[in-house]
Symmetry: C5
Subunit: 321 residues, 5 copies
């Protein structure tokens, strides 16, 4: 799908949905924003046929699995950023790619998946909310702002799931917990791989490196930079928390082993001597002391109880039971 927004000479915002409309608006110099959402091949063609973007940028655009980056092609900037993939239901943290071209006159966005941030902007435009500032750098800020903002709930959800796991470790540490810890570790690794370069992209936009970002808009970009920095920090500390969860799990496992072994040892050390005594008195000998007396059996019972209680007191003293 292709969504093209341009301003008529009287300042009215119009919409076009075909490459021809884009071409016309581009030639009239009224083009404001082209949003290519899972475009067809003929829609993709406008990137090089109409806008004449550099072959390498177009290739990166069409290719998937790119990391966030920003390239300055002189007349325009080419950005790759990643949005959180919010409409999945398996609760796993994923990201999807958004490619953006920023020129002095207009913005081009390119993405294969539905994207909440561009959809939000489109709604705001079509609902007549004429943007107060028609500059493309402002539109770019709006898109990036809502894109980064959408990380918030996902990060909080991630944090909540980790703290659920922590509770589980304390209550009932079983091997399935371990699988989930490793799942988190992988998600965290992936998140770091995306958020790190993305933060760098926003940083370069905010520190006045590019002529296409006017000075008076920099504070706005710095604001997004602060937000993504906060998420980067959170991702960093998630890593520590996950490591801690792993340590906690291993400690819990080791504590259980200790507990199990103590029980085994307490039982063994109480019953092995007693069994030996009964074995001794159970020998097939003719002369066993006390064997003829009626109280022999009770004396052995008494000795057994004494040994058992003595051992128990000893283990109590050793803090084993």
């Amino acid at each position: 799908m292709l969504h093209c927004y341009f301003f008529e000479p009287d300042g009215k915002l119009k919409v076009a949905n075909d490459p021809a409309g884009v071409r016309r608006a581009f030639q009239d110099g009224t083009l404001y924003w082209v949003d290519l959402e899972n475009p067809t091949e003929s829609e993709e063609e406008i990137l090089w046929e109409v806008f004449n973007f550099h072959q390498l940028a177009v290739e990166d655009c069409i290719a998937t699995h790119q990391y966030p980056k920003i390239d300055d092609y002189g007349d325009y900037l080419y950005l790759i950023v990643h949005a959180v993939d919010y409409n999945k239901k398996d609760g796993v943290f994923r990201t999807t790619e958004l490619d953006i071209f920023l020129t002095p006159q207009f913005v081009v966005t390119f993405h294969y998946d539905l994207m909440r941030s561009t959809t939000q902007q489109r709604h705001r435009l079509t609902e007549g909310a004429i943007p107060p500032d028609r500059r493309p750098a402002f539109l770019l800020h709006q898109i990036l702002d809502s894109l980064i903002h959408n990380y918030g709930p996902a990060m909080e959800n991630f944090e909540k799931r980790i703290s659920n796991i922590e509770e589980l470790i304390i209550k009932k540490p079983d091997p399935r917990v371990l699988d989930r810890i490793f799942q988190f570790k992988k998600e965290g690794l992936n998140l770091k791989r995306i958020v790190g370069p993305q933060r760098e992209v926003i940083n370069r936009l905010s520190r006045g490196e590019f002529r296409l970002i006017p000075t008076e808009l920099r504070a706005y970009y710095r604001d997004i930079f602060d937000e993504i920095s906060r998420y980067t920090e959170m991702a960093e500390s998630h890593r520590d928390v996950i490591m801690m969860a792993l340590d906690a799990y291993l400690s819990a496992t080791s504590n259980r082993l200790n507990e199990v072994m103590r029980v085994l040892t307490v039982f063994s050390t109480i019953f092995m001597p007693l069994t030996f005594i009964t074995g001794l008195l159970g020998m097939n000998f003719e002369h066993i002391p006390g064997a003829e007396n009626w109280w022999g059996f009770y004396i052995i019972i008494g000795v057994s109880i004494l040994v058992g209680v003595g051992m128990y007191i000893y283990f109590k003293f050793k803090k084993w039971v």
Copy 2:
């Protein structure tokens, strides 16, 4: 609540408690300090209606869970710093946010929680202690100085609690100790996340990056910087100490397991051969050597004692008991 301090033309310090007073003092150019403590919405409005601060700074101000930072808006500086949260009783290390605007004429502080450092300054002002230096950069130093100073007792308390835990590990390592170690680790992580950027804020104030901090006051800011650097170092080394405590706990656990297993093995290796011998002699056979003699039983007793003592000596030699 709103506390506004301004100097009358004759140099007398006056107090106002309503937005109207602030507006008047601002227009007269006599404004010195506005402290917004958990402000109402109408009090918050003076930030943009009277002082005309940038929308982004005001948003950051009202939002919570921001990390320490410093933004230069040309005419004024906007700082976020964190004070230790001192009036909690659960002994956990927390911080609360303080937002500060520094202009060439006055200071604005904004916070939702009671804050010891601003309260101290207000007392000093109202008790007639006219500040020796009426410049806002000096007032900012006073506020930051007492804010950072308050970290001291909290850090020491944290350190004392850790060393209590260490003692406990040596005396009685049980799983609850582990929970407390992980609790410390989380607090330490949180502390690092706050103190690190805060140190950077003070560093930028002290190294003459901002025109609003006069050169002759820089030594004072460097003094706070030294103090917070010391706390950062302490926080760093706390991390190492906590890791060490975890290692110590795991080692203690593993030592106990060893001890338990040695006891089990010593008992088993002594009594298993003996039980076998009694089993052998307890077989339901007609011809068992020595079964008819009265001394048979005592020989077995003797052999058992010999085997037991021999094993014991062997384990003594092996340093198991």
Copy 3:
């Protein structure tokens, strides 16, 4: 083997296969590319006799086991890069060295092993695909581009093998898995040792440090740089994933030990008291309570079942079984 490409005055591409041809093309100034593939000694000689390259560069060329680097000799650049070794069948990730000289007029490539990237370029030239840009810096880009591109499948294969191992750990953790984890760790280490400096070489080529790379070609080099950066990131994260696999393996081992010990303890604590009771009643005594009654045996059976079931419920409650 020696492959020499030069342009005749009429712009036609010609091929020569002997040192004499190279020398002639060099003197005529028509030389475009010399590819030395596992050269004989007399072919190697052209490096210093014809091209007069610096003795140190020639020595590095002939020596093997060099790391990627780039040296600026003023008139020409000397590069060492590594290609993935693709025609091995043991599935292990290896690299082979490619030495390149870039002069303002021509390119010299030198390698002992068959190399896919140079072979590809030779095919494209001999099949009449006259390069659109005859500059050597463009040819260098073409060679490096296909060389780096070939890392892709190898990296993906590596990733797939690691995730196979992960599945295996969950299903059946045995010591052979450990050997394979360590094998991966070594491969990853080796990969990092090669890809790190190689990325640096491409970085220096792309950032305009060398006069021999024209400004308009830099975007193309930056494109390869992005690709190799992606592989470096992948190599980095492989390391984390391998560490995780090792942790998972050790945890699985420790879980099994726990399981084994629980079984042992459950059996021991059930049967040791029971065996003691039978031992007690098996003593060679004349007066044993209940020994004369026909129901004695069945009472003991009943007691045994009671003790066994009681223990089982206790362990169920303790979550051991």
Copy 4:
């Protein structure tokens, strides 16, 4: 105590021990060195009353537990350095603070504890060894040189104690060794916390950052810098060695557990089948094969020996014994 050294007009070195003497020498411009050793309050006063040092520097001076640093107050430098605390007998590595003011005319040293380096300098002066170079920067070098030099024996002692521990781990790893390893770790941490910033202080003195250190003396400061760098390296590698000692201890513990468990298993697997056989033949049955024959007992003995020897050979083969 206060020790003040000044030069009379005829070049003779004189000593004064009271604030009045210091004030006189300061006004005459003949002051060379004031050493304040655990000063009284009236002696401390000369810092601000006579020398007019900045309030912040004086506060840092009087406060304890400061980290090494250097502050440039324009007319003078203020340094905090740490000496090793040599007169303790518990063998623990501690440091004490020394505060130094360097002005173009004289040096002021301030310390609460006895300090070997200042005492040495005082002796050299009073014994008539007129310094060849009366410049304060030279005196400062002398003091720092002997201060840093005193680290040598302490570092070597530390190293020797660590290698003692290593021997102990190999010979007899018991839990007390662990306590000592953790003690070392703490000392090492503390050492790093002091030596790191101290190295930075000396580095800044040696690289010509301060006008008060003449160019021709820099080589001397670089010499101390090399020495403290060596100690920093040693402290760094101590950390690795201590970590290694911990690993070694844990490995030794784990090896012992293995050894213990092998013994237990060997005994159990030999005697459990044998005890079962005797139990079988000890059943209270009327018809037990071989029970009536005189050789029955000896066959069982034989079978037991066979089973025992067979098991032993099996374990030998498995390398368990």
Copy 5:
């Protein structure tokens, strides 16, 4: 021993072996190289009496246990480098110190131990191989080149010994392997401590920081720099490999423990129920079911075999045996 080389006016190389000869050659300006090999005190004196080198450099020269460094004294450079100590037979990686002075006219080398690199140069000179380039910076390069080159075999030997250990871990992991791993770790630590600063020394020589190294020789120094960088990389990766060996050893230990415990558990769980049954039937009761029948014994044998086989199948299913 002292070896002094100088050029007579007619360009002939001459040798002198006493301080007087050095002094003469120095005054004539014909001095080329003085090699002080384990010098006597009177030979050491030429450093300050004849060459007038700075006192600090001379002190560093005579002192031992210095780390590699380079000091610029304006007229001359003072270097400390370390050669591998090749004539030891215990197979441990050690280094010995070589001190070098480079002046615009001549080179002075100073070492206490026999040194392969200086000996090689002396042979080349005395065998009439007049150096093609008489500049001292060229001689310095020759000495450093062969010194660094000698690291190669030692590094390879180190690598081979490590891979021997790895094989041993897989075949027969016993505690002595651990001792050797720790030995390697210490050697690696030591190596890193030497090679790191040495690489920095060569780097500074090669990047044109010192006027005494002519521009046209820099490529040669860069060549040594590449070589030592390769060794640094190797040392770095050795560290990882040693860590891996330790992990492998600990895993092997833990696997063995698991194996041992499984055997114990399998035996216990099979024989404990069986022994209980025989105990039950061995009770000294008058009425035991089946005791009077001749087939009673055989039924118990049958039940035992059934229980044993059943347990075995269960453990087979659980993958324990």
